[in-house]
Symmetry: C2
Subunit: 281 residues, 2 copies
């Protein structure tokens, strides 16, 4: 699906993919900022742990978001497609100021929630200003086209990764996570090679993209975002590559963006972070 139309007198909410394994104990920079863009002390956060098979994932994030100062945090553990029709949980979702998908398996999210009132509601919430984010599988699900599964390696090859429809909060990007940790440049390039209309963002662990209502992305966290811009791609051999064959791609533009950097999706320009202040000497 594609993004819901923005209602009059509203602007789109933040979209916050996180690369997985974000710091939760010492100095949870990313999760704290998530609470801030969800309303700070007034934030009501709905946690959706559907991707995870661990029974305590929802409760763990409830606790963290409350400790970080959210007004409330409530896990909605949708486990079946029938759960996705529950009026009580849909009511809680409807009043959230932030929605957070935990990690796990992104196909759990799409198979259980795809096409249900939950997925529709989240698109509408974001279109009227509510922040929606997620980590790992919860990051992958946010875009229109998501990587369902694939293999590691730096060289793009035919068949290296499979796409599936995500929840479609944005169609500007295809997201990949655990990016350097699992050597995923090849699989991100492989899926962009199908149809070079989207920008690829590869998120390292403990790293987040805060996509603002103005289509500017702010980078935060300990790692980097590898941004792959194929707007000026000259050639892709994907159409005739056999499974496992490397793909010929020319004209790729790459940015490696770290904390404080921004990227404007309208102008397709990166804005660098300010240099650190001079040492006092």
């Amino acid at each position: 699906m594609s993004p819901a139309r923005i209602e009059e007198h509203h602007s789109r909410g933040w979209i916050v993919p996180v690369g997985g394994a974000e710091e939760k104990e010492q100095d949870p920079v990313i999760l704290r900022r998530f609470v801030e863009v969800s309303g700070g002390a007034g934030a009501r956060i709905a946690v959706i742990p559907t991707a995870s098979r661990l029974p305590d994932t929802g409760a763990r994030y409830e606790k963290i978001f409350r400790q970080l100062g959210a007004h409330s945090a409530r896990a909605l553990p949708f486990e079946t497609r029938a759960d996705a029709e529950r009026e009580d949980w849909l009511g809680i979702l409807e009043h959230a100021t932030g929605v957070f998908f935990t990690g796990g398996n992104q196909l759990q999210l799409s198979t259980i929630l795809g096409g249900t009132p939950v997925a529709k509601s989240i698109r509408k919430l974001n279109a009227r200003g509510v922040t929606v984010g997620g980590t790992s599988a919860g990051a992958a699900i946010l875009s229109e086209h998501m990587i369902a599964f694939g293999q590691g390696g730096a060289t793009p090859k035919a068949g290296l990764a499979s796409l599936a429809p995500g929840f479609g909060l944005t169609n500007r990007v295809v997201i990949d996570q655990h990016f350097r940790q699992r050597d995923r440049l090849g699989r991100l390039l492989s899926v962009l090679a199908f149809n070079p209309f989207a920008v690829g963002i590869g998120l390292d662990e403990d790293t987040a993209a805060f996509l603002g209502p103005d289509d500017v992305m702010h980078v935060d966290g300990a790692g980097a975002i590898t941004l792959v811009d194929v707007a000026n791609l000259e050639h892709s051999s994907m159409a005739f590559a056999k499974p496992g064959q490397p793909i010929c791609l020319t004209g790729i533009k790459l940015h490696i963006l770290t904390k404080g950097a921004r990227y404007n999706f309208v102008t397709r320009e990166a804005v660098l972070p300010l240099p650190p202040p001079d040492d006092d000497d």
Copy 2:
């Protein structure tokens, strides 16, 4: 990509996927109707033969559309991503009342035209009333999520088919073609199992779906359309299926629709064709 926003005082144009191998000589029912919904005697048809590797595909359709009474038909043989920036061809496209993609390889279309001014222009044309259709590969490319390639067989299995981003004229459907001829129910079910938000339409050869501006689909041609509605899917096991394993899916609704039948995508109801008149006895 997703459909362009419809401009004020306009309605969306027809979207016409054809299942391949449509009749071209004796009684070309489908291509004749394509000319009609493109403006009849005033139709200016742009033929895009990019999916095909045969040099005469464009010229062949030019001739057919002129014989069927179109005012003009002009092939625009984009072969490279640089071609997709040619001002002269973009100018012809901009004044078309109908755009037709020939068959071939749908990844040729997405890799050469994806993200270029051609793909953007076609989405905008359709949003202001211009008819856009195509046959075989040219049908697959029309939707937001397209089947890039896959294997035949009736049972849905993990890994049976791969998705890629199409041109996104509609996000209501995933299209498959040569449907009964190549036994493709399994692969269509496999891709719907990822995220059950779209309706699957499997087009037999010489069979077309005329998707109207009012979201009603009209069936025409010699074969049938297999319509797969997963709105009430109860369960999909895709999240944990291993490659080659069959997928468990419950609650699928199926319609087999033939010439004269209609399907309303808003109400999700089929309207049957009128019965043939009684024999005179």
